[in-house]
């Protein structure tokens, strides 16, 4: 018999209690994994928006609750575009509406010339024609969902657009959305002369970070976003879900630790006399400590495995919701599982503290006298 099998044997003495404790901790781990995967997907979507059109950074309204609510005026766009340290800019208006079964269909309004410069991967048809207001290019996903072909007409908010081309991209929201002329989308959105974001490419020889900082200093209402860590400046939602994730993880630790503590306290209490016998036959305090912490760790490690599996299943189930499916693809990074494991280890250690103290506080004789 190994020490590990001794620990497992102790856990199996109260199978139902062990199972219920594992299930309880698993719920917390499930939440951490599922939420982590969904938030990872959201961040990937944000990263795709950030890195679109090969820009160095994007500029949007500072403090916008959601990037799609950002407004950058024509004057602000012009002020950025005319800077000597800026090589080129691309203004895009993101318009979100329900199209067919997709409640989060993103139509990106931008100048035909800018779209051409961005060189999208056109699989069928052609790019938007300069000056035309009734043309639209569909992402391959959107074309499939709508069953639309080049030459056919699709309606967005009762405005008819002629499909001139279909493009393919790894960018999920763009693949499930469309490109249309900026002026047409401004009309659709009722936002004349504004764009949502301005993508900026710094001039040759200019440091993009310095250019971004300079724009922020000059145009106080705007924020320049170079990487994901800055993304919260223009999308409070990312910050909120990050905070939510942290809070839920902390809650999972708290609830899990109480569950483990409860189980371990009961287990140690029931085995007080037995612990006295172990001390009497020569077990050191360290070995008693290792036994209790080992039991708590085993509980939590089993819960990590089951919780992680349930978390993956849950995050896949979330994709059954069309809104979610059109916006993000859950990301299962190693980081999420490391976080889940860390939560489990913290839960085990915190949950074992009191039972260990209780077990070691008693002298062998006090433990042996326990009825």
């Amino acid at each position: 018999m190994s020490f590990t099998s001794f620990i497992l044997n102790n856990l199996l003495r109260q199978k139902v209690r062990t199972l219920l404790t594992v299930l309880g901790i698993s719920m917390g781990i499930t939440t951490v994994v599922a939420l982590g995967a969904v938030i990872g997907g959201m961040k990937q979507t944000a990263a795709q928006i950030l890195r679109a059109y090969d820009a160095d950074f994007l500029v949007a309204q500072r403090g916008a609750s959601d990037l799609t609510f950002s407004t950058v005026s024509a004057e602000e766009w012009a002020a950025v575009d005319e800077r000597p340290d800026v090589k080129r800019t691309l203004g895009a208006l993101l318009y979100v509406s329900r199209v067919a079964g997709n409640p989060y269909f993103v139509t990106v309004g931008l100048h035909a010339e800018d779209l051409a410069a961005a060189e999208p991967d056109v699989t069928e048809g052609a790019l938007l024609s300069p000056g035309a207001l009734d043309e639209i290019m569909l992402g391959a996903g959107a074309a499939g969902n709508l069953g639309a072909q080049v030459g056919e007409t699709v309606s967005i908010d009762e405005t008819a657009f002629r499909v001139v081309g279909i493009y393919r991209t790894n960018n999920l929201w763009a693949n499930n959305g469309a490109y249309a002329p900026l002026e047409a989308v401004q009309l659709l959105a009722g936002k004349p002369d504004v764009v949502t974001v301005v993508y900026v490419e710094a001039a040759d020889g200019s440091d993009p970070s310095e250019v971004a900082a300079s724009i922020e200093g000059e145009l106080k209402g705007l924020a320049a976003v170079e990487n994901l860590s800055d993304y919260g400046e223009v999308d409070q939602g990312i910050r909120i879900v990050d905070a939510l994730n942290l809070a839920i993880s902390a809650l999972a630790v708290g609830i899990g630790a109480i569950g483990v503590m409860n189980t371990m306290v009961m287990s140690v209490f029931e085995r007080t006399r037995e612990i006295g016998v172990l001390r009497a036959v020569g077990w050191s305090s360290q070995r008693i400590l290792r036994m209790i912490v080992g039991e708590a760790l085993f509980l939590c490690l089993i819960a990590t495995v089951t919780g992680a599996l349930l978390g993956v299943l849950l995050s896949r189930a979330v994709l059954l919701i069309p809104l979610v499916r059109s916006l993000l693809e859950p990301q299962y990074s190693v980081d999420i599982f490391v976080r889940a494991l860390s939560v489990a280890v913290v839960v085990a250690l915190v949950g074992a503290i009191y039972p260990v103290i209780r077990a070691l506080r008693l002298t062998p004789m006090e433990a042996l006298r326990h009825e």
Partner: protein
């Protein structure tokens, strides 16, 4: 004090409940190496308390206790002492119910630094010695009272301690099973040179020992038999 004694206690005091309940009042005890002694006395006379102090399960309030020539109070690692120097058998076997007989015997061996294979081999060998061959995989609930006590004796001998302490080892057994356990203790003493201290309230059981030590009101009564001293003087020096 002489190192010829396996156990030498002088003036041991022990009280409980903050001094309200005196258990030992200056108890003296000398047990020679290889001797089998029985401590007898009425309930509450302190005989179990004395045994527990020797097992280092509790600490005396006053007095000195030397076991195998070492001052127990000065030992830095009591766990090591309990694991290697003294084995203890309780009135209730105190086996772990979810473990088989062979696994129960292995429990003290975790502290001995043996491999899992060696632990298993030694446990099997010990169970054979106590007459439990073929019942290694049975759990305590599948064993009779006498068999459980024999497993408990095997567990007490797991790390081959030179001193075996037995607290009413036959107290819960019928006379036949009790006799088998006593035969086993006697056999262990003769074959392994064990020093055995057995607490009992049964005079017939005590009669199996080399010497009977009587206790009353927390004290060891004067021993008219000086054999212990004689044995101590003639015993070989400690290893």
């Amino acid at each position: 004090m002489s190192d010829g004694y396996a156990i030498e206690a002088v003036g041991l005091d022990k009280t409980f409940e903050g001094g309200l309940i005196p258990a030992l009042k200056g108890a003296d005890l000398r047990v020679a190496r290889g001797e089998f002694v029985a401590i007898v006395g009425p309930s509450g006379c302190g005989k179990s308390t004395l045994l527990h102090l020797i097992a280092a399960l509790d600490k005396p309030d006053a007095g000195s206790l030397r076991v195998l020539g070492r001052d127990v109070a000065a030992l830095k690692n009591l766990s090591n002492y309990r694991a290697r120097d003294v084995g203890i058998v309780f009135q209730l076997h105190n086996l772990i119910p979810s473990l088989s007989a062979i696994d129960n015997v292995q429990v003290p061996m975790f502290e001995a630094g043996l491999t899992a294979r060696r632990r298993r081999e030694r446990a099997k060998e010990l169970l054979g010695v106590v007459g439990m061959a073929g019942k290694e995989l049975l759990r305590p609930t599948q064993l009779s009272g006498g068999e459980r006590q024999r497993v408990a004796i095997a567990r007490a001998l797991a790390n081959e301690p030179p001193v075996l302490l037995a607290d009413e080892p036959t107290g819960n057994l019928d006379s036949e099973a009790g006799k088998l356990v006593l035969d086993l203790l006697d056999d262990m003493r003769r074959r392994r040179g064990l020093t055995i201290v057995m607490v009992t309230h049964d005079r017939d059981v005590a009669a199996r020992a080399d010497r009977i030590i009587r206790m009353l009101d927390g004290r060891v009564l004067p021993d008219p038999d000086e054999r212990a001293a004689t044995i101590a003087r003639s015993a070989p020096p400690a290893d």
